[in-house]
Symmetry: C2
Subunit: 192 residues, 2 copies
């Protein structure tokens, strides 16, 4: 998605440790018009996939997910980061390791809101090692839900999570796929 | 907003301790069509208020905020819950007490994304004691931003936060304002 890559080139800030900050249009300030275009682009890509539900994870995936869901005309279910009290059999759950924050958490989705009747598009703002996405896929499996594919705004391709999923036959569509980035020069190279 | 009140009556679950669960359409599963109608209603209410930015707080406010922002054609800035490392002079910050989780946290907004040029609509999914809203208003004050008003999806009026803000001359528009609710009978009474 050219519009998105242009914004990443102009405003993205590369930091040490594989960090890309896009706070000016996606992760703190949200450019609503761009987000709407992102939602529409996911619809263009997955319009024929029979999507009945969009699943994401709090917090930053929610904005993207609801904007896309408007085009699909389907509900969003966002996985929550569990508090201990919530870990009962009302929920599907998956343990997720965050490389960004160097900790583990448990993502949960109520059994009421995901079932074998669902064909799910998983949406998230970032994909790096793929831990969060894999957590959601585990939950989908537990629910017996069908996976339409994974829609990612920015994939950090050099961290390998996306390509591993693709190698397993999962359809992963990233609107901007970064093959390398350099925090010293600020250079960002996209995969064509 | 009749459509919203009807959903709260039909699907809202009242729990002990002033808790209203609306997980089936707002806080876990999101009814995208309803969320879009909520966004449009905020636009109807504040269309003439000169809004240049919508400010909310992660996580559950984000969906409502971006849907409303589409109608206004303005960006969203969502306050983040701070990690200690982020507490420097790049950010406006406010300490907020959460009665729901019985803890304190610090909400931050980068100085880059809020200024005296802004007329802000504060949006959130819930208003109870008003602590989160007050935190955001403190940040707006620090930034010198003008306040257009506060738009709330569900106000728990009996907890008093909204009326205190109104008594101070702040325009608070709640799409569903609950005057009382009873966890034993499940009864919910809306203010007319």
């Amino acid at each position: 998605m050219q519009l998105l890559k242009q914004r990443i080139r102009e405003e993205g800030v590369v930091k040490k440790g594989n960090v890309l900050k896009v706070d000016s249009f996606l992760n703190h300030r949200i450019d609503t018009q761009l987000l709407d275009a992102i939602g529409e682009e996911f619809y263009r890509l997955f319009a024929d996939a029979g999507v009945t539900k969009i699943v994401t994870i709090e917090a930053s995936g929610i904005g993207v997910a609801v904007m896309a869901a408007r085009y699909f005309g389907v509900p969003v279910v966002f996985a929550k980061k569990a508090k201990t009290a919530q870990l009962d059999d009302e929920f599907y759950s998956a343990r997720i390791h965050s490389f960004t924050h160097n900790n583990d958490y448990t993502a949960i989705i109520s059994r009421k809101y995901l079932s074998a009747e669902d064909t799910v598009l998983v949406i998230d703002d970032f994909l790096a090692n793929g831990e969060a996405t894999r957590g959601l896929l585990t939950i989908l499996d537990d629910a017996g839900a069908k996976l339409a594919g994974v829609g990612i705004v920015i994939e950090k391709g050099f961290q390998g999570g996306g390509d591993k999923l693709r190698a397993e036959g999962i359809r992963v569509e990233s609107l901007a796929l970064i093959d390398s980035m350099d925090w010293e020069t600020g250079e960002i190279v996209f995969r064509e």
